[in-house]
Symmetry: C2
Subunit: 197 residues, 2 copies
Protein backbone atom coordinates (compact mmCIF):
# COMPACT_ATOMS: atom_id res chain seq x y z
CA UNK A 1 0.00 0.00 0.00
CA UNK A 2 1.20 3.49 -0.79
CA UNK A 3 2.08 5.60 2.23
CA UNK A 4 -0.56 8.29 2.41
CA UNK A 5 0.73 11.84 2.36
CA UNK A 6 -1.19 12.78 5.46
CA UNK A 7 -2.51 10.00 7.61
CA UNK A 8 -5.31 12.18 8.85
CA UNK A 9 -6.77 12.10 5.33
CA UNK A 10 -9.70 9.72 5.16
CA UNK A 11 -9.03 6.42 3.41
CA UNK A 12 -10.52 6.20 -0.08
CA UNK A 13 -13.65 4.07 -0.18
CA UNK A 14 -16.06 2.77 -2.77
CA UNK A 15 -18.31 5.74 -2.06
CA UNK A 16 -15.57 8.37 -2.15
CA UNK A 17 -14.21 6.92 -5.39
CA UNK A 18 -17.69 7.04 -6.90
CA UNK A 19 -18.21 10.61 -5.71
CA UNK A 20 -15.05 11.67 -7.48
CA UNK A 21 -16.55 10.57 -10.78
CA UNK A 22 -19.58 12.83 -10.52
CA UNK A 23 -21.16 14.74 -7.68
CA UNK A 24 -23.81 12.61 -6.02
CA UNK A 25 -26.89 13.76 -4.14
CA UNK A 26 -27.19 12.86 -0.48
CA UNK A 27 -30.05 10.55 -1.23
CA UNK A 28 -28.02 8.79 -3.91
CA UNK A 29 -25.12 8.35 -1.50
CA UNK A 30 -27.45 6.91 1.13
CA UNK A 31 -28.95 4.46 -1.34
CA UNK A 32 -25.52 3.53 -2.68
CA UNK A 33 -24.18 2.81 0.79
CA UNK A 34 -27.16 0.55 1.40
CA UNK A 35 -26.24 -1.62 -1.57
CA UNK A 36 -22.59 -2.23 -0.80
CA UNK A 37 -21.11 -5.51 0.39
CA UNK A 38 -17.64 -6.48 1.50
CA UNK A 39 -15.70 -9.67 1.03
CA UNK A 40 -12.18 -11.00 1.50
CA UNK A 41 -10.27 -13.34 -0.78
CA UNK A 42 -7.17 -15.31 0.07
CA UNK A 43 -4.14 -15.16 -2.13
CA UNK A 44 -4.81 -17.41 -5.12
CA UNK A 45 -8.61 -17.25 -4.80
CA UNK A 46 -10.66 -16.32 -7.83
CA UNK A 47 -13.05 -13.39 -7.74
CA UNK A 48 -14.38 -14.45 -11.14
CA UNK A 49 -13.95 -17.64 -13.17
CA UNK A 50 -14.03 -18.22 -16.90
CA UNK A 51 -17.57 -18.48 -18.24
CA UNK A 52 -19.14 -16.96 -15.14
CA UNK A 53 -21.22 -13.79 -15.44
CA UNK A 54 -19.49 -10.92 -13.71
CA UNK A 55 -22.13 -9.66 -11.30
CA UNK A 56 -20.09 -7.15 -9.36
CA UNK A 57 -18.41 -3.81 -9.64
CA UNK A 58 -15.43 -4.02 -7.27
CA UNK A 59 -13.49 -1.53 -5.22
CA UNK A 60 -10.25 -2.78 -3.67
CA UNK A 61 -9.87 -1.75 -0.05
CA UNK A 62 -6.67 -3.72 0.26
CA UNK A 63 -4.77 -6.16 -1.88
CA UNK A 64 -3.98 -6.87 -5.50
CA UNK A 65 -5.70 -8.70 -8.34
CA UNK A 66 -5.07 -9.59 -11.96
CA UNK A 67 -7.63 -9.78 -14.75
CA UNK A 68 -6.46 -12.33 -17.31
CA UNK A 69 -7.34 -14.99 -19.84
CA UNK A 70 -5.56 -18.11 -21.06
CA UNK A 71 -5.26 -20.39 -24.03
CA UNK A 72 -3.97 -23.97 -23.91
CA UNK A 73 -0.44 -22.98 -23.08
CA UNK A 74 -0.19 -19.35 -22.06
CA UNK A 75 -1.74 -16.71 -19.86
CA UNK A 76 -2.38 -13.10 -20.84
CA UNK A 77 -2.95 -10.36 -18.31
CA UNK A 78 -5.21 -7.45 -19.14
CA UNK A 79 -4.58 -5.40 -16.00
CA UNK A 80 -3.56 -5.44 -12.39
CA UNK A 81 -5.80 -3.70 -9.86
CA UNK A 82 -4.59 -2.66 -6.43
CA UNK A 83 -5.79 -0.49 -3.56
CA UNK A 84 -8.56 1.99 -4.29
CA UNK A 85 -9.17 0.79 -7.83
CA UNK A 86 -12.76 0.56 -9.04
CA UNK A 87 -13.16 -2.15 -11.65
CA UNK A 88 -15.15 -4.97 -13.19
CA UNK A 89 -15.13 -7.00 -16.40
CA UNK A 90 -16.99 -4.46 -18.45
CA UNK A 91 -18.51 -6.60 -21.18
CA UNK A 92 -19.62 -9.42 -18.92
CA UNK A 93 -20.91 -7.00 -16.30
CA UNK A 94 -22.79 -4.74 -18.70
CA UNK A 95 -24.41 -7.37 -20.89
CA UNK A 96 -24.39 -10.14 -18.24
CA UNK A 97 -22.67 -12.49 -20.64
CA UNK A 98 -20.19 -15.26 -19.74
CA UNK A 99 -16.79 -13.75 -19.09
CA UNK A 100 -13.77 -14.48 -21.25
CA UNK A 101 -11.65 -13.15 -18.44
CA UNK A 102 -10.89 -14.29 -14.92
CA UNK A 103 -10.01 -12.30 -11.85
CA UNK A 104 -7.54 -13.70 -9.33
CA UNK A 105 -6.31 -12.34 -6.01
CA UNK A 106 -2.51 -12.10 -6.11
CA UNK A 107 -2.52 -11.23 -2.41
CA UNK A 108 -5.04 -11.47 0.38
CA UNK A 109 -7.56 -8.96 -0.95
CA UNK A 110 -10.49 -7.14 0.63
CA UNK A 111 -13.10 -5.63 -1.64
CA UNK A 112 -16.25 -3.60 -1.42
CA UNK A 113 -18.67 -4.32 -4.22
CA UNK A 114 -22.11 -3.61 -5.59
CA UNK A 115 -24.20 -6.09 -7.56
CA UNK A 116 -24.95 -5.35 -11.19
CA UNK A 117 -28.71 -5.44 -10.70
CA UNK A 118 -28.49 -3.08 -7.75
CA UNK A 119 -26.27 -0.66 -9.63
CA UNK A 120 -28.62 -0.81 -12.59
CA UNK A 121 -31.54 0.01 -10.30
CA UNK A 122 -29.60 2.87 -8.73
CA UNK A 123 -28.80 4.19 -12.20
CA UNK A 124 -32.50 4.24 -12.96
CA UNK A 125 -33.37 5.91 -9.68
CA UNK A 126 -30.53 8.44 -9.44
CA UNK A 127 -29.46 10.18 -12.59
CA UNK A 128 -26.21 11.22 -10.86
CA UNK A 129 -25.24 7.59 -10.27
CA UNK A 130 -25.65 6.83 -13.92
CA UNK A 131 -23.49 9.88 -14.70
CA UNK A 132 -20.77 8.61 -12.38
CA UNK A 133 -20.91 5.15 -13.88
CA UNK A 134 -20.75 6.63 -17.37
CA UNK A 135 -17.69 8.59 -16.34
CA UNK A 136 -16.10 5.40 -15.03
CA UNK A 137 -16.71 3.71 -18.37
CA UNK A 138 -15.16 6.58 -20.27
CA UNK A 139 -12.08 6.36 -18.05
CA UNK A 140 -11.96 2.63 -18.70
CA UNK A 141 -12.11 3.23 -22.45
CA UNK A 142 -9.38 5.83 -22.18
CA UNK A 143 -7.13 3.44 -20.27
CA UNK A 144 -7.67 0.73 -22.86
CA UNK A 145 -6.84 3.14 -25.66
CA UNK A 146 -3.61 4.09 -23.90
CA UNK A 147 -2.69 0.46 -23.61
CA UNK A 148 -3.36 -0.18 -27.29
CA UNK A 149 -1.33 2.89 -28.24
CA UNK A 150 1.59 1.68 -26.17
CA UNK A 151 1.43 -1.80 -27.59
CA UNK A 152 1.45 -0.37 -31.10
CA UNK A 153 4.16 2.20 -30.61
CA UNK A 154 6.56 0.67 -28.12
CA UNK A 155 8.73 -2.42 -28.17
CA UNK A 156 9.03 -4.74 -25.18
CA UNK A 157 11.90 -2.83 -23.59
CA UNK A 158 10.01 0.45 -23.80
CA UNK A 159 6.85 -1.15 -22.42
CA UNK A 160 8.82 -2.57 -19.50
CA UNK A 161 10.38 0.80 -18.74
CA UNK A 162 7.00 2.47 -18.94
CA UNK A 163 5.60 -0.06 -16.49
CA UNK A 164 8.44 0.76 -14.11
CA UNK A 165 7.70 4.46 -14.44
CA UNK A 166 3.93 4.17 -14.09
CA UNK A 167 3.66 1.21 -11.73
CA UNK A 168 7.01 1.00 -10.03
CA UNK A 169 5.45 0.35 -6.61
CA UNK A 170 3.64 -2.71 -7.95
CA UNK A 171 6.84 -4.31 -9.20
CA UNK A 172 7.65 -5.57 -5.72
CA UNK A 173 4.27 -7.25 -5.46
CA UNK A 174 4.03 -8.86 -8.89
CA UNK A 175 5.98 -11.87 -10.09
CA UNK A 176 8.11 -11.35 -13.17
CA UNK A 177 6.17 -14.16 -14.76
CA UNK A 178 2.96 -12.20 -14.36
CA UNK A 179 4.64 -9.03 -15.56
CA UNK A 180 5.77 -10.78 -18.74
CA UNK A 181 2.19 -11.97 -19.33
CA UNK A 182 1.05 -8.38 -19.00
CA UNK A 183 3.73 -7.05 -21.33
CA UNK A 184 2.93 -9.71 -23.92
CA UNK A 185 6.36 -11.33 -23.97
CA UNK A 186 7.90 -14.50 -22.54
CA UNK A 187 9.51 -14.57 -19.17
CA UNK A 188 12.83 -15.35 -20.83
CA UNK A 189 12.51 -12.25 -22.93
CA UNK A 190 11.67 -10.13 -19.90
CA UNK A 191 14.67 -11.52 -18.06
CA UNK A 192 16.84 -10.55 -21.03
CA UNK A 193 15.42 -7.03 -21.01
CA UNK A 194 16.03 -6.65 -17.31
CA UNK A 195 19.61 -7.81 -17.61
CA UNK A 196 20.05 -5.11 -20.23
CA UNK A 197 21.36 -7.26 -23.07
Amino acid sequence: MLPRANHTLPMPTFVSAFCQLASLTDSAITDLKGMLHTKSYDKGEKLLSYGERCKRLYFIDEGLTKTFFSNESKEFIMRFFSEYALFTVVDSFTAQTPSHYEILALEKTSVTYINQQDLEALCKKHHCIESAFRKLLSIATTNMMKRISEMLEENATERYNRFLRDNGQLLQRISLGDLSCYLGITQVSLSRIRSGK
Copy 2:
Protein backbone atom coordinates in the same frame (compact mmCIF):
# COMPACT_ATOMS: atom_id res chain seq x y z
CA MET B 1 -21.01 -0.36 -48.46
CA LEU B 2 -22.57 -3.67 -47.54
CA PRO B 3 -25.52 -4.69 -49.70
CA ARG B 4 -28.56 -4.47 -47.48
CA ALA B 5 -30.52 -7.70 -47.13
CA ASN B 6 -33.76 -6.03 -48.00
CA HIS B 7 -33.60 -2.66 -49.68
CA THR B 8 -36.94 -1.67 -48.28
CA LEU B 9 -35.37 -1.66 -44.81
CA PRO B 10 -34.76 1.88 -43.67
CA MET B 11 -31.13 3.04 -43.79
CA PRO B 12 -29.46 3.17 -40.37
CA THR B 13 -29.17 6.72 -39.07
CA PHE B 14 -27.65 8.45 -36.09
CA VAL B 15 -31.01 8.28 -34.34
CA SER B 16 -31.71 4.65 -35.16
CA ALA B 17 -28.21 3.70 -34.01
CA PHE B 18 -28.75 5.56 -30.76
CA CYS B 19 -32.16 3.95 -30.26
CA GLN B 20 -30.58 0.52 -30.53
CA LEU B 21 -28.41 1.29 -27.51
CA ALA B 22 -31.34 2.02 -25.20
CA SER B 23 -34.99 2.71 -25.78
CA LEU B 24 -35.54 6.45 -26.06
CA THR B 25 -38.68 8.40 -25.24
CA ASP B 26 -40.39 10.29 -28.05
CA SER B 27 -39.45 13.55 -26.45
CA ALA B 28 -35.79 12.49 -26.23
CA ILE B 29 -35.82 11.49 -29.89
CA THR B 30 -37.33 14.83 -30.86
CA ASP B 31 -34.71 16.74 -28.87
CA LEU B 32 -31.92 14.57 -30.22
CA LYS B 33 -33.01 15.15 -33.81
CA GLY B 34 -32.98 18.87 -33.17
CA MET B 35 -29.31 18.76 -32.17
CA LEU B 36 -27.93 16.84 -35.13
CA HIS B 37 -25.79 18.33 -37.88
CA THR B 38 -24.43 16.87 -41.07
CA LYS B 39 -21.17 17.47 -42.86
CA SER B 40 -19.14 16.05 -45.71
CA TYR B 41 -15.40 15.55 -45.89
CA ASP B 42 -13.32 14.96 -48.98
CA LYS B 43 -10.91 12.08 -49.13
CA GLY B 44 -7.81 13.13 -47.20
CA GLU B 45 -9.60 15.77 -45.11
CA LYS B 46 -9.23 15.65 -41.35
CA LEU B 47 -12.25 15.43 -39.09
CA LEU B 48 -9.98 16.06 -36.09
CA SER B 49 -6.38 17.23 -35.81
CA TYR B 50 -3.74 16.54 -33.18
CA GLY B 51 -4.15 18.79 -30.13
CA GLU B 52 -7.69 19.80 -31.02
CA ARG B 53 -10.52 19.08 -28.60
CA CYS B 54 -12.89 16.53 -30.05
CA LYS B 55 -16.25 18.24 -29.86
CA ARG B 56 -18.36 15.78 -31.77
CA LEU B 57 -19.86 12.33 -31.56
CA TYR B 58 -19.96 11.12 -35.17
CA PHE B 59 -22.16 8.76 -37.11
CA ILE B 60 -20.97 7.77 -40.59
CA ASP B 61 -23.73 7.92 -43.17
CA GLU B 62 -21.29 7.09 -45.94
CA GLY B 63 -17.55 6.71 -46.24
CA LEU B 64 -14.56 5.54 -44.24
CA THR B 65 -12.26 7.09 -41.64
CA LYS B 66 -9.21 6.14 -39.64
CA THR B 67 -8.40 7.21 -36.08
CA PHE B 68 -4.63 7.31 -35.65
CA PHE B 69 -1.60 8.91 -34.06
CA SER B 70 1.99 9.36 -35.17
CA ASN B 71 5.48 9.75 -33.84
CA GLU B 72 8.39 11.24 -35.80
CA SER B 73 8.61 8.38 -38.24
CA LYS B 74 5.57 6.14 -38.03
CA GLU B 75 1.81 6.14 -37.93
CA PHE B 76 -0.36 3.93 -35.74
CA ILE B 77 -4.01 3.28 -36.44
CA MET B 78 -6.42 2.70 -33.60
CA ARG B 79 -9.48 1.87 -35.67
CA PHE B 80 -11.24 2.26 -38.97
CA PHE B 81 -14.85 3.42 -38.97
CA SER B 82 -17.17 2.93 -41.92
CA GLU B 83 -20.88 3.20 -42.66
CA TYR B 84 -23.24 3.29 -39.71
CA ALA B 85 -20.51 3.46 -37.08
CA LEU B 86 -21.03 5.74 -34.10
CA PHE B 87 -17.73 7.02 -32.74
CA THR B 88 -15.63 9.78 -31.25
CA VAL B 89 -12.26 10.12 -29.51
CA VAL B 90 -13.53 9.14 -26.10
CA ASP B 91 -10.98 10.78 -23.81
CA SER B 92 -10.83 14.08 -25.66
CA PHE B 93 -14.60 14.15 -26.09
CA THR B 94 -15.44 13.27 -22.50
CA ALA B 95 -12.94 15.47 -20.71
CA GLN B 96 -12.62 18.05 -23.49
CA THR B 97 -8.86 17.68 -23.48
CA PRO B 98 -6.52 18.05 -26.48
CA SER B 99 -6.62 14.90 -28.55
CA HIS B 100 -3.61 12.63 -29.00
CA TYR B 101 -5.40 11.11 -31.93
CA GLU B 102 -6.44 12.39 -35.34
CA ILE B 103 -9.34 11.39 -37.55
CA LEU B 104 -8.91 11.35 -41.31
CA ALA B 105 -11.38 10.58 -44.10
CA LEU B 106 -9.99 7.76 -46.25
CA GLU B 107 -12.83 8.31 -48.72
CA LYS B 108 -15.34 11.04 -49.33
CA THR B 109 -17.26 10.76 -46.09
CA SER B 110 -20.64 12.09 -44.94
CA VAL B 111 -21.33 12.24 -41.24
CA THR B 112 -24.12 13.17 -38.87
CA TYR B 113 -22.88 14.47 -35.57
CA ILE B 114 -23.88 15.98 -32.27
CA ASN B 115 -21.79 18.47 -30.30
CA GLN B 116 -20.41 17.44 -26.95
CA GLN B 117 -22.14 20.25 -25.08
CA ASP B 118 -25.46 19.44 -26.69
CA LEU B 119 -25.12 15.75 -25.91
CA GLU B 120 -24.16 16.59 -22.33
CA ALA B 121 -27.26 18.78 -22.04
CA LEU B 122 -29.42 16.02 -23.50
CA CYS B 123 -27.91 13.55 -21.02
CA LYS B 124 -28.98 15.88 -18.21
CA LYS B 125 -32.44 16.37 -19.61
CA HIS B 126 -33.22 12.82 -20.72
CA HIS B 127 -32.12 9.99 -18.53
CA CYS B 128 -32.61 7.58 -21.45
CA ILE B 129 -30.06 9.46 -23.56
CA GLU B 130 -27.50 9.12 -20.84
CA SER B 131 -28.29 5.41 -20.65
CA ALA B 132 -27.75 5.05 -24.37
CA PHE B 133 -24.49 6.93 -24.21
CA ARG B 134 -23.34 4.82 -21.30
CA LYS B 135 -24.12 1.72 -23.31
CA LEU B 136 -22.09 3.10 -26.20
CA LEU B 137 -19.14 3.61 -23.88
CA SER B 138 -19.38 0.10 -22.53
CA ILE B 139 -19.36 -1.22 -26.09
CA ALA B 140 -16.31 0.92 -26.81
CA THR B 141 -14.52 -0.49 -23.77
CA THR B 142 -15.43 -4.00 -24.83
CA ASN B 143 -14.03 -3.41 -28.32
CA MET B 144 -10.80 -2.05 -26.89
CA MET B 145 -10.46 -5.06 -24.59
CA LYS B 146 -10.92 -7.38 -27.55
CA ARG B 147 -8.21 -5.54 -29.42
CA ILE B 148 -5.80 -5.79 -26.49
CA SER B 149 -6.56 -9.49 -26.09
CA GLU B 150 -5.83 -10.09 -29.75
CA MET B 151 -2.60 -8.13 -29.64
CA LEU B 152 -1.47 -10.15 -26.62
CA GLU B 153 -2.48 -13.57 -27.88
CA GLU B 154 -1.99 -13.47 -31.62
CA ASN B 155 1.03 -12.99 -33.82
CA ALA B 156 0.97 -10.77 -36.91
CA THR B 157 -0.22 -13.54 -39.25
CA GLU B 158 -3.08 -14.43 -36.96
CA ARG B 159 -4.06 -10.79 -36.54
CA TYR B 160 -4.08 -10.35 -40.31
CA ASN B 161 -6.26 -13.41 -40.80
CA ARG B 162 -8.62 -12.20 -38.09
CA PHE B 163 -8.90 -8.85 -39.83
CA LEU B 164 -9.80 -10.65 -43.05
CA ARG B 165 -12.44 -12.66 -41.25
CA ASP B 166 -13.93 -9.73 -39.32
CA ASN B 167 -13.42 -6.90 -41.79
CA GLY B 168 -13.00 -8.60 -45.13
CA GLN B 169 -15.21 -6.07 -46.90
CA LEU B 170 -13.00 -3.20 -45.75
CA LEU B 171 -9.87 -4.76 -47.25
CA GLN B 172 -10.78 -3.44 -50.70
CA ARG B 173 -11.10 0.09 -49.35
CA ILE B 174 -8.01 0.28 -47.15
CA SER B 175 -4.42 0.54 -48.36
CA LEU B 176 -2.10 -2.21 -47.20
CA GLY B 177 0.07 0.52 -45.70
CA ASP B 178 -2.81 1.57 -43.47
CA LEU B 179 -3.62 -2.02 -42.65
CA SER B 180 -0.04 -2.62 -41.52
CA CYS B 181 -0.27 0.47 -39.27
CA TYR B 182 -3.40 -1.00 -37.74
CA LEU B 183 -1.86 -4.44 -37.25
CA GLY B 184 1.23 -2.92 -35.66
CA ILE B 185 3.73 -4.26 -38.19
CA THR B 186 5.66 -2.80 -41.12
CA GLN B 187 4.27 -2.83 -44.60
CA VAL B 188 7.12 -5.10 -45.64
CA SER B 189 6.16 -7.58 -42.98
CA LEU B 190 2.51 -7.48 -44.04
CA SER B 191 3.52 -8.09 -47.63
CA ARG B 192 5.50 -11.12 -46.49
CA ILE B 193 2.52 -12.46 -44.56
CA ARG B 194 0.23 -12.00 -47.55
CA SER B 195 2.61 -13.84 -49.84
CA GLY B 196 2.53 -16.70 -47.34
CA LYS B 197 6.26 -17.07 -46.78
